[in-house]
């Protein structure tokens, strides 16, 4: 019986097929990356049908690290609800999907958050015609809320704490939220402030909508992988860190070639001129060089997708480097 059980365990193991995600990805020839169903600035198809955004760049950076080619990635859309089963079942190799890092997701759900690529907080958006200036004036309002999110729980806490009532209208996707808000089925839409900016930018007349000043929660959004595959977790973690370190060191997609002859040791280590850090990760030695060359550093990705010059108009704020008043900080590259 014991023998039979162990045979089953082996067969089960073969079926679950986790010899190592990095090897799986290499053998497959492309990365499967879970993203949102469409959130402008984070992950949404652009005019030419290419996925673009901060999260999309995160996916591409990992694809570049593994294959040296930013196009070797398949974007798989997930809703707030389907994202975790999709990752847990191996349907995608990683999620870069505006997902808040919480203890229960990190510990109980069996995932591993490898870092934070956007520090966010939950806010409220209302039509400016309502004349509301603070979230505490929302007593009795109907609130559109994406189900299965941390924002859903924060919302309940916020209204309970302030002793005011509300009516929740549960929705599945950001698009559904937009539709219901614009039709007036709900008075308020609440989600991460970045998501509100994105929704507002997509409105026919953005000036008709205001984002209220209250930020009621911490929402560190970051990429995550399945728990237990540390090698793969390291690849994703350091792909993100490489982009942040590149910004710290002033390396951009434009000057990266010139920087290979820099005299700063950390630059040379990052770009693979010195040391064998790529080998440690089982990647090619110029993996970080390729990320910076093909995607850019964190700042470039930020400014192109969500920064003040984009329709989202989100200032760097918390997402500025630690040296510039923000809290963006990557461990040393050595």
């Amino acid at each position: 019986m014991k023998k039979l059980l162990s045979i089953f365990a082996v067969v089960a193991f073969a079926f679950s097929a986790h010899a190592g995600t990095l090897d799986d990805v290499k053998n497959r020839g492309f990365l499967k990356c879970g993203v949102t169903t469409g959130l402008a600035g984070f992950a949404a198809p652009d005019d030419s049908g290419e996925w673009a955004g901060l999260d999309a760049d995160m996916c591409r950076a990992v694809a570049v690290a593994v294959f040296g080619d930013r196009s070797k990635v398949e974007f798989i859309t997930t809703t707030g609800k389907s994202r975790f089963p999709t990752l847990a079942s191996g349907e995608v190799d990683m999620l870069a999907r505006n997902t808040t890092w919480t203890i229960s997701r990190d510990v109980n759900l069996g995932f591993e958050f490898v870092g934070v690529n956007f520090y966010d907080g939950q806010g409220f958006m209302v039509p400016s015609a309502l004349g509301v200036s603070s979230a505490t004036e929302l007593d009795g309002a109907t609130v559109c809320i994406q189900t299965g999110t941390t924002t859903e729980l924060n919302l309940a806490d916020f209204f309970r704490l302030n002793g005011i009532s509300y009516e929740a209208l549960p929705i599945e996707t950001n698009d559904e939220g937009k539709e219901n808000l614009f039709a007036g089925r709900c008075d308020v839409y609440t989600t991460d402030a970045s998501g509100l900016s994105s929704t507002r930018a997509a409105a026919s007349n953005p000036d008709k909508w205001v984002v209220l000043p209250e930020i009621i929660s911490k929402e560190p959004l970051g990429p995550l992988v399945r728990h237990g595959d540390h090698q793969w977790g390291d690849v994703v973690r350091w792909s993100l860190n490489a982009m942040i370190i590149a910004e710290e060191l002033g390396i951009t997609s434009e000057n990266v070639d010139a920087q290979t002859s820099s005299n700063v040791p950390e630059v040379l280590r990052l770009l693979g001129v010195e040391g064998n850090y790529g080998e440690m990760l089982e990647l090619s030695n110029d993996w970080a060089y390729q990320i910076i060359k093909q995607i850019g550093n964190y700042s470039e990705s930020y400014e192109a997708n969500v920064g003040p010059d984009t329709p989202l108009e989100i200032a760097r704020g918390l997402n500025a480097l630690w040296t510039q008043g923000g809290i963006l900080y990557a461990p040393p590259f050595r």
Partner: protein, 387 residues
């Protein structure tokens, strides 16, 4: 070798052999599924168990007409709210679909060409368009209604907007309980009168006006009592305060969309079942009853429908089951039914997918079996009893 084959050609042995094989393979498959699942759950560090049911939900459910729900309530209560909402839309849907289906089925058979064609078009349209699309269509129409501040007003008491239909809520004051008791007593006595009248008619052939006397008992008597007691009933009217109407009764567009789509979709099937049932009664029955001078309405009520019911009820049962199961599509419009609330939000907030889905499936199974059980009793009671 030869002797082996001979053994195998024994029919009894062969049948036992294959049956054992099939059962064995099934058990093996089941064992494999369970062991693989638990192995993988453990490997992915996903905690299992039922203790999450006692944890506070942490989110709010606004649509809970029977139980009051707060975010501090447990996931178990989310489950009960979901079950009640599922039952609400299923029961109201089944009743509406049955009434609509019967009317349409009879109209479809009418000699009026226009009417029967119209029903034909309706049936073909709603049977052949996926239900999910119909639900979304109704919802899209409903949220295009005026906004809450520009609500349509009907008779100064009803308000219609894309937040739903608001109506006054009856408030029962002391003394109204006498009226309710009178209604219950009237219902019981009408039932007894009906039985007595039937017996008397069987014995003597004399008829008793059961319908009008029951109406009198059920409506007139409590109404008189109601006025004698000084109208112990008042209404709380909905009032626009701040963002929404406060007070009154409200029917949400999510519910209306589900109710309309489910009952209209299922009524199309039921009307076909009713039509088939009526057509299964041979033409001679109708002609014979006309020959003995029965009125047209009596022929339908006393001769055709009772015989048609025998054909109608079994497929009608499966339509009820379908409607109940289809109510799980409520998730498409955010109707807080069992699948959306417990099988969706709770599942997602706790991550206990297998446990939540097992509970949801077991619940649908129990609801369906209960419906079948009662419909089978009813079916037996209307079957032809040979004397």
């Amino acid at each position: 070798m030869r002797s082996n084959l001979g053994f195998f050609s024994d029919e009894k042995f062969r049948s036992i052999f294959f049956q054992t094989l099939v059962v064995g393979l099934f058990a093996l498959g089941l064992f494999f599924v369970i062991s693989t699942t638990s192995y993988n759950l453990e490997k992915r560090n996903i905690a299992t168990g039922w203790s999450f049911l006692q944890n506070p939900a942490g989110f709010d459910i606004s649509f809970s007409p029977f139980l009051e729900f707060k975010s501090t309530d447990t996931h178990l209560k989310v489950y009960f709210v979901g079950v009640l909402n599922t039952l609400l839309v299923s029961v109201t849907g089944c009743i509406a679909a049955t009434i609509l289906g019967f009317i349409l089925g009879i109209i479809r058979l009418s000699s009026n060409w226009l009417l029967s064609r119209l029903v034909y078009i309706y049936v073909e349209f709603s049977r052949n368009v996926p239900l999910l699309l119909q639900i979304i269509l109704w919802y899209s129409i409903l949220i295009q209604l005026p906004r809450v501040k520009q609500s349509l007003q009907i008779l100064d008491v009803f308000y219609i907007s894309n937040r739903g239909l608001y109506s006054p809520r009856p408030i029962f004051e002391s003394g109204f309980s006498y009226v309710s008791i009178a209604i219950v007593l009237a219902l019981i006595s009408s039932f007894l009168i009906n039985r007595w009248a039937k017996k008397r008619q069987d014995k003597t052939g004399q008829q008793f006006p059961v319908f009008s006397s029951s109406i009198g008992l059920i409506f007139i008597v409590p109404l008189i009592l109601f006025f004698i007691l000084g109208s112990p009933l008042s209404f709380e009217h909905p009032e626009l305060k701040g963002f929404n109407f406060k007070g009154g009764l409200v029917i949400r567009p999510e519910f209306i969309a589900m109710f309309l789509a489910l009952s209209i979709y299922t009524a199309a099937f039921i009307s076909e079942i009713v039509r088939a049932g009526i057509m299964s009664v041979s033409k001679g029955q109708r002609e014979a009853s006309a020959a003995i001078g029965l009125k047209q309405t009596w022929i339908m009520r006393l001769i055709i429908i009772p015989q048609a019911l025998r054909v109608i009820v079994p497929p009608l049962t499966s339509q009820y089951l379908n409607l109940t199961k289809n109510s799980s599509l409520g998730i498409a419009v955010g109707y807080a039914d069992l699948v959306h609330g417990f099988g969706g939000i709770s599942l997602n907030q706790t991550g206990q997918a297998i446990e939540c889905m097992a509970i949801v499936m077991a619940t649908y199974l129990s609801i369906s079996l209960t419906i079948s059980f009662f419909m089978n009793i009813y079916n037996r009671s209307i079957q032809f009893k040979e004397k």
